[in-house]
Symmetry: C2
Amino acid sequence: MSAAVLYHFPFDPGSRSARLALGEAKIAHEEIVVRPWEPDCPVAGLNPSGMPPVLQTTEAGKPLTLCEAPAILGWIEDKQKTPLLLSTDHAERGEARRLTAWFDRRFTDEVNAVLLHERLEKPLLRLGPPEAKALRDGRAALKDHLAMLEPLAASREWLAGRRLSQADLVAAAHVSVLDYFGEISWRSYPSLKLWYMKLKSRPCFRPLLADKFQGLAAAPHYADLDF
Amino acid sequence: MSAAVLYHFPFDPGSRSARLALGEAKIAHEEIVVRPWEPDCPVAGLNPSGMPPVLQTTEAGKPLTLCEAPAILGWIEDKQKTPLLLSTDHAERGEARRLTAWFDRRFTDEVNAVLLHERLEKPLLRLGPPEAKALRDGRAALKDHLAMLEPLAASREWLAGRRLSQADLVAAAHVSVLDYFGEISWRSYPSLKLWYMKLKSRPCFRPLLADKFQGLAAAPHYADLDF
């Protein structure tokens, strides 16, 4: 099989979703870290949005470029003989898609756009120190989202039902970035913590646990499988 | 076949995506208009986000509730014997998913959250008159997005390639709401205009052209197939 190359930024939830899905599907690939805010970022010429993740691969001998996590996750699922990251049950497929949309839209708007802006973008782009009010608002929104996920994790094996789905990978992609920055109070969400421990122990997760953010060590439990 | 019921708000782009996809797939269904900001909205008990679209149907004799456009569009595609709203070509499938994600995320954030907030949410929720600066910002963002779409429409039969895909339906769902409010200067985008005329002539589009917004007539060309 010819090689696939994933351009990603390690603390971008979309990039993490793509890495987890490629890992779960055991698709051999090379990973190239990009910094999309720098002028010579190679992704600028590949994706009209200028953002990772972008996967370059081949299909039937033809080059194939896939931009954004939904295109990469969709392609991975298309290649499977039997469903891998979606259930065969219609209700669970629908629930996985609902939750994926929830993270891509509401979680991104209400949590990431506030909290990751303060904790991640500001130091990277040298936009000054975080603002106390934005941190408070982002953390309050994060609590609401985790409180919404906790009963799902308590009543189901995986977030969308009886089997692991793309919803688990996308949710873990978002949660793991915030966990690196020490933003998740796991003791308040015991069922979600068990769900996250199960995910963290999977081989697909290992590369993410080795990621390092410039000048800031991960929260002490970040890479612990038994935290 | 047992009936399907779609709960939708006629000027919500996600709801329009679902109606167009159900129409294109010729899935018989009843449509119930909801007003998600009202306390007794039936969608509040069906979708954790409280928002339309929600489709209630049955699969293999069991009730099935699908929340949000990606779950509804995904289910429609799952039911097809041969792909209907995605190409069989991997590159075109990826491109359709990229464009769908673009509308669901960037177009929604940069155009709808500004321009539809001023033109649609403010009158509905009685939040006062539109602000000139927000209208200017939203219109500038809309121009950028349409200018990005114009070369795609000029060089391809449909937005993602040689065949109609979910990207066309999702893009048209967004564009058609803004067109109702007279926000699209079609003469600046001749190829996009041809694309939109092709879409508007399809039977799936007919119900949308009959929609009425309270107290505001559609732009004169809105329901014209040959505008």
